[in-house]
Symmetry: C2
Subunit: 334 residues, 2 copies
DNA sequence: GAATTAAAGTAAAACGTTTTACTAAATTCA
DNA sequence: TGAATTTAGTAAAACGTTTTACTTTAATTC
């Protein structure tokens, strides 16, 4: 069974292709097609199950009703949750999402942008990494809406939605200090993206503001794509070699590894050892004791991103760029 | 800056569009294009950064190098992990993945299939639900490769890859019984898909084979899309109203809710109360005590799925359908 | 040195839409 | 009543490729 084309419908209805096209696209009235013809064509379309070929449509119109979503890693729950929310909201407004993970690899990210470009996606939602500034700028000169989220890129002048990582991190450390902690460690990653460096800066500033000297030996930067076993031994080394009474983990997966270490070396979280994890995870609430976290407002981020995209897509003129920074919430548990 | 087309390249190189096309598609040799021309064109393409318009290409060739992946819910870690693996493997072989979540909603699932169809994806990987048999059969008559995974659909004659849910469930119950457990409950979902009913059947059969009478009062079916709070109170009711010494949770998210209940009602997992969760989750290893789980071989499933797809795509003739059932692993922790 | 074959390349159709510019008939207007 | 306008619809170009069938020139064969 060959798939139907608009031509088949036209032939069956005894009208021109143009007429069918007008009807499909709701322009029948404006193009003064008679009620009778409209009904006939619609009936035939309905009965035959004809669906317009989106590829042909895209080729002709230059847009696709597809939004490209580029994230770090779909298997990370922060991203998969936000992807789900974004997909859902986009879907309700008639857009589809294609997503793909960069794995923090510059080449892959560039390739993804190219592939989205050659597939003519209408807009881009990107959780970026350093090194793709130029590629993003090309999209902007092409007049494609681009929204960065989670992390910003200094040399790119576009829209951004993200949480206030600096303050969330600052408050986390402050809460440690209020509990009387003195030797506060930071476990972070080595990738050089704004959202991570902000967490680092917040850590440092909070210490300084409270008269605690910052020490490099209390900060460990874990390489991004490394095996978990290596991560675990780095964290173990940190905890065993230093006197530490509190740790801020800069991502949820680092915290997971950290908790495994605690289990292994039998170190208890409690009055004299505290932990906060950046980005919530199902495991944290469940953990005994449950783990305090910095919660990003996923719903709000997703909603803001989609709204920005849609207003850009529907406006003829280039809109003013917006930078939306949403406060993150420190959830102290137990 | 207008984006470049093959025509621009042809003009610049002073050759015909055809020639450029041959070169792009590696048919230059076979079509006897001279070395000199090949080099010139390739240089121009390289310098200009020209990338073929995939939309136009798809329209002409009828395929897209895109594989559609339809899953239940991308924010569930089982699916997001497998999506990542599939994406990765497909990517390495030159295919892109578009994915979308059905949320176990028949209408959405049908719409997704239609939308993939009108976008001319080359093949489909589907974790199906009841009610879309007809739609899948239409894909098959269109001669599109379709691989079902995680769960099979009785009335659809196509390829399937999944874990041996029945035996995994059976073994879980058996392991409870060997520990001397007598009152074994099952917390499952109400969706009527094969992978879930198999888990149920395994539960029932294991009880019967070991001379334990099955009781409806020990099985609770949680509605799929319900708020977690409701789930929690259902599970709480089960645990508090019955004498129960072991529970099998049929999905990881149900187990998570279950663990929250245990925490709330202060029930300890230990010698006289055991738990097994179907599908692993980061929270389980970390939990105190850590939680035994049925682990599906994600890597193997993903690899099998991709291999099937690729062999179908590269073969001219319709291949024999394959049903691959992979054993799942019961991981007893603590 | 004419006929044949090979080499190097091209023109044009086709994929399935949307959209612009057009036509023919019917209606309104003055 | 004839011109102007409205109604109802259509032909054909365009989007950017791939691919088939073709042409022209050069090389080879006998």
């Amino acid at each position: 069974m060959k798939t139907l084309s608009i031509k088949d419908i036209a032939v069956q209805a005894n009208v021109s292709i143009t007429t069918v096209s007008f009807i499909i696209n709701g322009k029948a009235k404006e193009k003064s097609i008679s009620e009778a013809v409209i009904e006939k064509v619609e009936r035939i379309i309905e009965e035959s199950g004809y669906k317009p070929n989106q590829i042909a449509r895209s080729l002709r119109t230059g847009n696709s009703n597809i939004i490209g979503l580029i994230i770090e890693d779909i298997s990370n729950s922060f991203f998969s949750r936000i992807a789900r929310l974004i997909e859902d909201k986009a879907y309700k407004r008639g857009y589809k999402i294609i997503y793909s993970s960069t794995e923090n690899n510059v080449d892959k990210a560039k390739e993804l942008i190219n592939m989205f470009k050659s597939r003519k996606v209408d807009a881009y939602i990107i959780s970026p990494i350093k090194g793709i500034e130029e590629d993003i700028n090309m999209l902007l000169t092409d007049n494609k809406p681009v929204i960065l989220f989670d992390r910003n890129l200094p040399n790119v002048d576009t829209n951004y939605v993200g949480a206030d990582h600096f303050n969330a991190s600052y408050q986390s450390i402050e809460s440690f200090i209020k509990q009387g902690k003195k030797n506060i460690a930071l476990v972070t990653t080595d990738i050089d993206v704004q959202q991570i460096t902000e967490r680092y800066d917040g850590y440092k500033k909070a210490l300084e503001d409270h008269g605690i000297t910052y020490g490099d030996n209390l900060v460990v930067k874990i390489p991004f794509n490394q095996e978990e076993a290596a991560t675990i031994s780095q964290i173990k080394a940190l905890l065993q070699s230093q006197k530490i009474d509190a740790v801020l983990f800069a991502t949820n997966y680092l915290a997971i590894s950290g908790l495994k270490v605690l289990k292994q070396i039998n170190k208890q979280i409690g009055d004299d050892f505290a932990v906060i994890a950046y980005d919530d995870h199902e495991a944290f609430e469940l953990h005994t004791p449950s783990i305090s976290t910095v919660q990003q407002p996923l719903e709000e981020i997703a909603e803001t991103v989609i709204k920005m995209i849609l207003s850009q897509l529907s406006s003829k003129t280039k809109l003013e760029n917006q930078q939306v920074i949403i406060p993150a919430k420190l959830i102290i548990r137990d």
